[in-house]
């Protein structure tokens, strides 16, 4: 199961990165988010999986596809100037980061000891736990997130509207 969802996630992310048409890339992004939600279920976290589907695959992707279709910019334009050096430098840094992260995960003693903990008996995180934790220990960040959402909503409207 883990392998199936991991391959769904990474495969559709790669397909998105090399897609010419922006709308098709957005649809591959939906598949990526669904794969990530499957990984969350396997991490015994069904509440986060539901939130992932609702917020990312629902709200943010609808907003993104709406903007793509409104802007009528479906294809990437040909480059003005060839920046071969930067392109290959970027790919090289990517390969270097893949190798470095693999080496880090393989060699880290801390991760090795952490991964040997038993996780078979871990109970799924319920909404009850999350609500109690959030409203008793993290109340101030909760209020600040509400304020941040309000401010960003006002900011987005004032950016797009021509005359307030």
């Amino acid at each position: 199961m883990f392998l199936a969802f991991a391959l769904l996630t990474l495969g559709s992310a790669l397909a998105m990165a090399f897609q010419k048409n922006v709308i098709v890339a957005g649809l591959f992004l939906v598949a990526t988010f669904i794969g990530v939600a499957g990984l969350f279920v396997l991490l015994s976290n069904p509440v986060s999986a539901a939130l992932q589907i609702i917020v990312y695959a629902g709200a943010i992707l609808v907003l993104l596809l709406f903007v793509i279709m409104m802007l009528n910019a479906h294809e990437e334009e040909p480059p003005q100037e060839d920046l071969y050096i930067q392109r290959y430098l970027g790919l090289g840094v990517g390969v270097l980061m893949i190798g470095g992260s693999f080496w880090f995960i393989k060699e880290s003693k801390l991760l090795q000891s952490l991964s040997e903990r038993p996780v078979n008996q871990v109970a799924p995180v319920s909404l009850n736990h999350i609500g109690t934790e959030m409203l008793s220990h993290h109340l101030v960040p909760f209020e600040m997130i509400g304020l941040l959402l309000l401010v960003s909503m006002i900011g987005a409207i004032s950016l797009v509207k021509k005359r307030l």
Partner: protein
């Protein structure tokens, strides 16, 4: 009590290292999308991919710390910030499109100066 998985078993069968590896790879794919593609909309999708990658890593560590609800609480805060970022980022893209009727990042290189 089952035997702990070896490193390569953990990669294939969903140990902690497997989730971390998926998260790292997803982050790098997102970063490469931002660096190598020129359309603002595709770069925005790359940023969303990077946010999802760190969410996977956060919840994996949460499970291996005994399924604590703190990880899920922070995940809630992260998607709140991601929603704000999506709204403001898309508003900026719409505004830049109105300015030059293109979403190509190269043609907006005047933002550099």
């Amino acid at each position: 009590m089952t035997e702990p998985l070896s490193f390569f078993q953990a990669l294939w069968m969903g140990g902690l290292q497997g989730y971390l590896w998926v998260g790292f790879l997803l982050f790098i794919i997102g970063l490469m999308t931002v660096v190598l593609r020129r359309s603002f909309l595709l770069q925005f999708m790359g940023i969303e991919l990077m946010l999802n990658a760190i969410n996977i890593i956060l919840l994996a560590f949460g499970k291996w710390h005994g399924g604590i609800p703190t990880a899920s609480t922070f995940y809630l805060f992260i998607i709140g910030v991601a929603a704000c970022e999506a709204a403001v980022g898309l508003a900026l893209i719409v505004e830049l499109y109105r300015l030059k009727s293109t979403t190509d990042a190269d043609q907006h290189s005047g933002l550099r100066h």
